[in-house]
Subunit: 445 residues, 2 copies
C-alpha cells in the first residue's frame, strides 16, 4: 500500500524490487543478444520480401478469445479497463494477425507476407519451466494455398536458423491431409486425438511401447499400419511411394509433398529436410503441410521453429477466405539452445575504448576524443568523473572494454594522447588525434 | 460472448475486427519506419557505449506506483492476475529502470549507461490526440552526478536527432537549482508550481501576457525579475553572467552550466544548444540540468526528446543513492514530426525483385532464381502461384517492387531469364543466372 511519508531513510519502508513469477529482466548481455538475433532474422525476412507489422498488446477479449473455451482462456491476462472494456493481453501472434488481416485486407492486398517479433503473455504454470512473458517471431504468407508458399516457408526456416549460426539441424515435414486419410482408412477419425498424442510421444518412449499403446487404442493390426505409416524411409521418394500405397495416390497432399520434396532437391538443400509422416503439430488448426525443426546437437530441446498450413486464417472476423502457411520461432527456447551450443554472447554491445578522466578542466577534451573515435566508427565512452585510475580500469575490465585513452594536462597541452591495450598492458604514447582511430582499430582487430 | 457453433457463413455472428480506442495497428510501411528509427538510434547508443536492457511489461502495482497518489495512477492499466497478484502495465520506462537498478546493481556496476526502447501504456483521454499505447526510447547514465555525464546526454540527444536526418533543431537547457535559487530570492518557493506553469505557457501567450500573469501571482517587481531571469541573452556567457547577477555566482548550478556551455563550445557544436533559463521540465523529479529539443521547422510540435538530472533514481527500493541524468524520446511524436518534415517513408522493407510465376512445374526454378538474388544481397520474392500476368504485375506495383524476372518453359530449358524494369518497361532477355544479380543491382541504383 502506498504511504506518502515513507522515505528512503526508513529501511522498513523500502519496497522490494521484485518482479512477478514467470517474468524476467533482460540484463545488457542477454538483451544485446536478443536484439542481435531479431536483427539477423529481420535481415533474412527482408531478403524474402516479408514485411513487418505490429499490433496492440491489449485487444478486446472477445476478439482474442472468439473461438471460446479451450485451455488457453484460463491462461490469458484479461481484465476490465477504466472504460469498462473487457480487454486481454495477446497470448500469441496468430490471433492478432487474423484480426489485422480482416481489418486491413484492402490496404495490404494479397498475397501478403508478414513477420512479427513481439512479446506475448500466458499465465502458465511456471513449474514446467515456462515463462509468462515471452517473445515469439512469426512469419506467414496468406492469400494463397500454393506449393510455392509451403516451400518458401521451409526455405525461410532454414535460412533463419542458418543465419543464427545453427548447424546440424533438420526440418521435418509432413501433411495433415495424408495423415487424416490414413486414420480414415483405419476407421479411426473419432480417435485421432489419442492416436496423435501417442505418436507424439514415440520419440521419447520408443517404437515398441508406442506399438503397445496404439494397439490398446486401435487393435494390433491398425497399430502396425500406423507405425508403418509414420516410419521415415531412406529417401523422400520412398516415403512418398509408401504413403501412396497406404492411403492411395489420389489423396490430396501426396502430390503436394512430392512437389515440395522435389523442389528442395532441385535447390540442393534436400539434406536439411526430412519428409517425416510422424510430424502432426496438434489437431484443430493445421490442414496441409506441417513442420518442426530439430537441432542435431540438442535432441531434447524440442522444436525451436514450427508451423504449417491453415485453411482459413480469419474466419472469425471476415467471410473472405484466407488460406496461408507460416511458422513461429520461440525466441526464448531458441536463445536457450544457442547458449547451450555456444552460439550466444558474441553480440555484446560494449564500447571498444574508454577515455579515462584525469582532470576536471579537460571534460571537453575527453568528449572531443570520444567523438572523433565515434566518427571513425569506433564505439567509445568517457569515464564520467575524476576517480582513482584503479577504479576506472576496474570499470573497463568489468565492462569488457579492451582499450583506454589517457590524456592528462601535459598531453592535452601537447595535443596528444596515450592509447593503452588493457589486455596486453602495451602503451602507445604521443598519438595525435588523427592517428588515434587507426591505431585503435588495429588493436581491436 | 463465445458461441461454439458460430460459423463464418453466418454473417451476423462475425466478430468485428476492431481494437480499443487509443491503440493502433502498424501497417508495414509505418512499422518498417519504426524499426528503422529504433535501429538508427541503437547504432548511436552503441557508439556511446550505452547498453540495452529490457524489463517486464507487467510489474507489481506496488512497485510501479510506490510513490502513491498522483494523476498517473488513474491512468495505469492495473488488475488482479490469476494468482491474485495486484499487477500493472508499465506507464513509463523510468520507474522500471529504478526497480531494475535496485535489483541488479551489483551485476551491472556503476556508472551504468542504459538505453531502452519499449512500449508503455496509459489510459489517457484520447481526445487530446494521445495514444494509450505508445513507444518511448530512454537513455540514462546513473551512478554519477558529473558535468561530463550531463554533457554526454546532450551530445547523445544531438547525435540521435541528427542520425534521423533532423536539421534545424535546437536543444535548450537550463538548471533547476538556478531556477529554484531565483524563486527563493523572490520568496516564491511556495508558489513555484504556479510560476512554472505560467512560464511554460510563455511561448504560446507571449511576453506581455506572461508579465501580467506573473504580476498577478508575485507582484509587478517580481514579475519583471522573473522575465529578466528567463530571457535568453546573445551568448551563453552573457546569460550566465546575468544569472550570476540575479541569484549569486555561488549558486550550485551556475558553475555546472558554465562547464557544459564551454565544453559544447569546444566541441564546435555550441550552435545546436541554447542556454535557456525558461526550460524547467515540471516539478518534483529533476534537480539539476534540464533540457528539451525544439524542431525549427515545426515550432508547434513540442519537444520530441527531453530530460534532465535527478538526485536519486531508486530511493523507493534501495538506500544506495543513485544520481543520474537521462532523456526520453517520444517515438510517436518523433515519427509524426519526421512525417511532416518529409523524413519518413524511406525505409520501406519491400523486395527489389519479383520472380513471376508462369508454370507450376517450374516452382523449384523460381525459388532457385530468388535464392541466387538473395545470396547476392538483393531482396527477392516469388509470386506464389500461377495467375494472370496482369495480376502479378499489379501486385508488384502495389508493393512498389521495381523489377520482375520472367522465366517460362522455353527459357527454363535454355537456362536463361528475362529481367523487366517495371517502371521503364525495359526488358533484358537471355540473361544467365550469373548475369542476373549484377544487372538487377544496376537497375536498382
Amino acid at each position: 500500500m502506498q504511504n506518502e511519508d515513507r522515505s528512503a531513510e526508513d529501511r522498513g519502508a523500502l519496497i522490494e524490487p521484485r518482479i512477478p513469477k514467470g517474468f524476467r529482466d533482460f540484463l545488457p548481455e542477454k538483451e544485446a543478444e536478443r536484439l542481435s538475433i531479431v536483427r539477423k532474422l529481420q535481415s533474412v525476412f527482408e531478403r524474402f520480401g516479408f514485411l513487418p507489422i505490429d499490433t496492440p498488446v491489449l485487444e478486446f477479449a472477445e476478439v482474442l478469445l472468439g473461438k471460446g473455451g479451450g485451455e488457453t482462456d484460463k491462461e490469458v491476462y484479461r481484465f476490465t479497463d477504466h472504460g469498462g472494456r473487457d480487454v486481454a493481453m495477446r497470448f500469441d501472434l496468430t490471433v492478432p494477425f487474423a484480426r489485422f488481416m480482416a481489418a486491413h485486407l484492402d490496404e495490404v492486398g494479397l498475397p501478403f507476407r508478414r513477420w512479427h517479433a513481439a512479446k506475448v503473455w500466458r499465465g502458465e504454470n511456471t513449474q514446467r519451466g515456462r515463462y509468462r512473458e515471452f517473445m515469439q517471431v512469426d512469419f506467414d504468407i496468406v492469400g494463397t494455398d500454393s506449393a510455392s508458399a509451403d516451400l518458401e516457408i521451409l526455405l525461410l526456416m532454414r535460412e533463419s536458423l542458418a543465419a543464427l549460426g545453427m548447424r546440424a539441424f533438420t526440418i521435418r515435414y509432413a501433411h495433415r491431409g495424408v495423415f487424416n486419410a490414413c486414420l480414415a482408412r483405419l476407421g479411426l477419425e473419432g480417435r485421432s486425438v489419442e492416436v496423435l498424442r501417442t505418436i507424439d510421444k514415440q520419440r521419447k518412449v520408443g517404437t515398441e511401447k508406442t506399438r503397445e499403446l496404439l494397439a490398446g487404442i486401435a487393435g494390433p493390426a491398425a497399430a502396425s499400419e500406423i507405425l508403418e505409416f509414420i516410419r521415415v524411409e531412406e529417401t523422400p521418394a520412398a516415403t512418398l511411394q509408401k504413403l501412396s500405397g497406404l492411403v492411395g495416390g489420389g489423396v490430396e497432399g501426396i502430390a503436394r509433398l512430392s512437389q515440395v520434396a522435389s523442389a528442395l532437391d532441385r535447390l540442393g538443400i534436400g539434406g536439411t529436410f526430412v519428409l517425416d509422416p510422424s510430424i502432426t503439430r496438434g489437431l484443430d488448426y493445421y490442414t496441409g503441410i506441417v513442420f518442426e525443426s530439430f537441432l542435431g546437437d540438442l535432441p531434447d530441446i524440442g522444436s525451436v521453429c514450427s508451423g504449417g498450413r491453415y485453411n482459413d486464417l480469419a474466419s472469425l472476423y471476415t467471410r473472405q477466405r484466407l488460406p496461408g502457411v507460416g511458422a513461429s520461432i520461440g525466441l526464448d527456447r531458441l536463445m536457450a539452445a544457442m547458449e547451450e551450443l555456444g552460439l550466444a554472447g558474441g553480440s555484446s554491445a560494449r564500447a571498444s575504448v574508454l577515455v579515462l578522466f584525469l582532470d576536471d578542466s579537460l571534460v571537453g577534451v575527453y568528449h572531443e576524443i570520444a567523438q572523433n573515435l565515434r566518427a571513425a566508427g569506433i564505439a567509445a565512452e568517457v569515464y564520467p568523473e575524476k576517480k582513482k585510475l584503479a577504479q576506472q580500469f576496474a570499470y573497463a575490465e568489468k565492462k569488457g572494454i579492451p582499450l583506454a585513452v589517457v590524456c592528462g594536462a601535459q598531453e592535452a597541452a601537447a595535443g596528444t594522447v596515450t592509447l593503452k591495450n588493457l589486455k596486453t598492458r602495451e602503451s602507445f604514447e604521443g598519438l595525435s588525434p588523427a592517428d588515434l582511430p587507426g591505431r585503435a582499430r588495429e588493436l581491436i582487430r
